[in-house]
């Protein structure tokens, strides 16, 4: 966890309001809170080389478009991670298919070598671990579709070609997987606020 800065006592929503008034310290605090997860997402999708670019572009976009954040539509953290993911998807789709396959291989290698996550840090991490467990518990054919689409940025047609399946089957598996994960999200433990 990062050391609190001068705006460490503000909620994310307060910080967004300050960002709309061009208070750079507010963005710095948001960055300190959320960039580690943002970077993890971008790295999972893009690998080392491009992840920092995606994170920087996403936070720059948040700064420029702070007034477009709508608290009624979700948490700041959620909005921010969506922007990181959309930006990463754009980057993914602009690079060659062969390079995207290399990224997947890189991730598989890292995942095999990664140590287990500490199980008892904080409640928020318990919830995260719960979601990861739920993804890992999906039937392999469903997990594969979700990972190719969500992290790999492949379209349903591309996934169908890769797996040798009809597009309809790919879509059905995607839905079955999300519905199962949805029930796990409902039952997951831990806070849903976005304070650090």
């Amino acid at each position: 966890m990062h050391a609190p800065g001068p705006m460490g006592h503000f909620s994310d929503e307060d910080l967004m309001a300050r960002a709309t008034r061009f208070e750079a310290d507010a963005l710095a605090e948001l960055y300190d809170r959320h960039s580690p997860t943002a970077l993890a997402l971008a790295r999972r999708m893009l690998g080392h080389a491009r992840a920092e670019d995606a994170v920087q572009e996403a936070f720059t976009s948040i700064w420029r478009n702070a007034s477009s954040y709508d608290p009624d539509r979700g948490l700041v953290r959620t909005w921010l991670l969506r922007i990181v993911r959309y930006r990463s998807l754009d980057i993914l789709r602009s690079i060659a298919v062969e390079d995207r396959r290399v990224l997947e291989a890189e991730h598989e290698h890292e995942r095999a070598a990664a140590p287990a996550s500490p199980a008892s840090e904080v409640l928020k991490q318990e919830r995260a671990a719960h979601i990861r467990e739920a993804i890992g518990a999906l039937p392999e054919d469903q997990r594969q579709v979700v990972e190719l689409a969500y992290f790999g940025g492949w379209t349903q047609v591309e996934i169908a070609e890769r797996l040798g399946l009809p597009v309809g089957t790919v879509k059905s598996r995607a839905r079955l997987a999300l519905v199962k994960l949805r029930s796990q999200v409902d039952h997951s433990v831990g806070p849903r606020n976005d304070l650090p």
Binding site: A24, E57, S68, R73, Y86, R127, V146, A174, R182, S188
Partner: protein, 237 residues
């Protein structure tokens, strides 16, 4: 409430995962505008998508990335404040282009390798048109010293007029947004830039709008702006 088109539930999951091709994504988005069942399904499944992102183990970020980001936004803020001040102090140069659009000349400034265009548009020739301050940005490849943007509202119909905007990056389209007090609302207008360089985009009612912005997005568009605006028209009301 149940959707009358049974295959649409699979589309909801595919859309949330971002795997629908652009044309199907467009059709699905249009469908959700009229189908509460599918809109609710999307909202439910988006919570899963958000949870997946949040579940990743945080990774340490480099001090260099933080420093670089903060320097960038501070430089932009200084430039923006400078442009605002100039905008207040210097009256706009108004020129008439074509039948109805009068757009200010724009001053080009350099920023971090991108071209930034800041200026003021004033259309006093059209009844019902709105005074607008233009804050437009072009990509480095645009070279757009002549880029401009203005919003015209006539007889209840509003239109965004863009001139000299660079084409969107490969694989992307431009998307227009109306920013209200509650945030940016997608207009559903996805567009590219024709050879003439002039684009007109039909807008919804602007009664309580604060500004109109344009961003480059993936080919199926987006529900929230994901990239910096390439054009911002502040509506003076």
């Amino acid at each position: 409430m149940t959707c009358r088109e049974p295959d649409r539930q699979d589309d909801a999951a595919a859309w949330v995962l971002g795997m629908l091709p652009p044309d199907e994504a467009d059709r699905f988005v249009a469908h959700t505008a009229d189908c509460a069942s599918c809109a609710e399904e999307v909202a439910r499944l988006e919570e899963v998508s958000d949870a997946i992102a949040s579940s990743l183990d945080p990774e340490p970020t480099s001090a260099g990335l933080r420093q670089s980001l903060l320097e960038k936004i501070e430089a932009e803020t200084a430039l923006f404040r400078s442009a605002e001040q100039r905008d207040t102090e210097e009256p706009a140069v108004v020129r008439r282009t074509g039948r109805s659009v009068a757009v200010a000349g724009l001053a080009a400034l350099a920023l971090l390798g991108s071209g930034i265009l800041v200026g003021r548009a004033l259309d006093s020739s059209e009844p019902g048109s709105r005074t607008a301050t233009v804050f437009g940005m072009v990509t480095p490849s645009g070279g757009g010293g002549d880029a401009s943007a203005a919003v015209l509202a006539r007889e209840g119909v509003s239109e965004l007029v863009l001139k000299g905007l660079s084409p969107p990056p490969a694989g992307q389209v431009y998307q227009a947004w109306v920013v209200r007090s509650r945030g940016a609302v997608p207009t559903g207008s996805l567009f590219s830039v024709p050879r003439s360089g002039e684009t007109k985009v039909r807008l919804p009612r602007l009664d309580d709008a604060q500004r109109v912005i344009v961003t480059a997005e993936g080919r199926q568009g987006s529900r929230t702006p994901t990239l910096p605006a390439v054009a911002v028209v502040n509506l003076a009301g």
